[in-house]
Symmetry: C2
DNA sequence: TATTTATGATAGTAATACTATTATTTAAAA
DNA sequence: TTTTAAATAATAGTATTACTATCATAAATA
């Protein structure tokens, strides 16, 4: 028997559920590949269709436009991360250890999870670093928010915020600190690899240094 | 006599220097307006030309494409901020006061600076919040970096990093903390206004709360 | 077996992101 | 002042993007 993790997705992100067909799964799989390879700006439904071996119209039957497809992919990742955090910290009782574990998960390029067939999480993590903020840095952010497109991200922030409060119930900014951890983990990773002088990690380009930096930042604030 | 602050720009960002003609100045002025109003994705040279009252080809004589124009505008802002920080902290000897002042400048919507004729800095600040990261979150980031497109941003980070070291010469991550302050100031502002549950500033939507959060974060880390 | 449903193949449109050409105006040099 | 150069305006044209629409066919389901 093959175990599969299913992330429940917001149905208004798609026209036809991509999990329910081979073509749908290929749309997700090749989108991740192409966005990673060429970047979101250069990514088009035509190129995607060619890569899959279908037609543009075929892709449009699943997703209205590439923005919704990006939001779908990113939401999926947040959902998967939420699951990972729950799973990997389920036996950790000490909140400080738990938060450290969470920071490590957020700042580390994960290995491909065999439980999610057509999705390569390590590539997805890279996409999140370079393209993640483009999901919400748009003029339609409020409409998208009303449609609950960012619910998985918010839930993750809420989970992390909860763990922060477990560490120190008097800390005043659990949500802001949670979103800061997530975003800074990605930003410092991007800077380290592309604009290294904006970081102090230039030499080794090692993700562990980002984790150390974040741990220092976070625990100084909440243990003060 | 009218005093004018001139920010020296990287000449490879443009084909013809926009500071040197009325049309050029209008390109900058209306770009800022249009990008702010409709967002960078919906911004085109055709719409810009119409707004100015010139033709598309006219705009292309100044800028190769809209990406370079965005980088130009954003670089200008970093250069202007660097000047502001130098100017507004020149008599502050206490490094902690200086860093607090810098955090306030970075996290506050500035008033329109009358010394820079055709540029409205308060709108530029808004553009930086929503569009700033799109300047570097591209596949060409390394080439752009080689051309020194991000020099003003790096210099600003370096300046802020220097002030951090003045506060505590043993602090290990001055550059990362500097880039974190700048980016988090913008991100938390965007979240506060658009995705408030990712922050703890939902009620009043006041920038002062972001400053308080950043001060807490920064000084906990460096004074530890 | 009939019929719904998904896919494939093809066409077409408006907008975007440019490049090129020529005419006209403006400003600087002779 | 005239000549010449440089900047701009007006127009046209191309390839690509971001879609929508139509119709035929294959596969799944009733």
């Amino acid at each position: 028997m093959k175990l599969e993790v299913q992330i429940k997705m917001n149905a208004s992100l798609y026209l036809r559920d991509p999990e329910q067909s081979e073509l749908g799964k290929n749309i997700i799989k090749f989108s991740i590949e192409l966005i990673h390879k060429h970047g979101f700006e250069a990514f088009t439904f035509k190129k995607l269709a060619e890569a899959i071996g279908t037609t543009e119209a075929g892709v449009y039957r699943y997703f209205e436009n590439k923005h919704k497809l990006l939001v779908y992919i990113i939401s999926w990742y947040w959902g998967w991360l939420e699951f990972q955090i729950g799973y990997q910290t389920k036996n950790v009782t000490n909140p400080v250890s738990k938060l450290k574990k969470v920071i490590t998960i957020l700042a580390t390029t994960v290995e491909d999870d065999i439980m999610t067939g057509h999705v390569d999480e390590s590539i997805l993590h890279q996409i999140l670093i370079s393209e993640g903020s483009k999901a919400y840095l748009t003029k339609q952010v409020s409409q998208d928010n009303k449609q609950e497109y960012f619910k998985p991200y918010k839930e993750l922030c809420n989970t992390v915020g909860g763990i922060i409060l477990e560490c120190n119930s008097k800390y005043k900014y659990p949500h802001s600190l949670a979103s800061t951890i997530i975003e800074v983990a990605h930003l410092q990773n991007f800077f380290m690899n592309n604009l290294p002088s904006l970081t102090d990690f230039s030499k080794s380009k090692n993700e562990d240094q980002i984790i150390t930096f974040l741990n220092d930042l976070v625990f100084s604030s909440i243990e003060k």
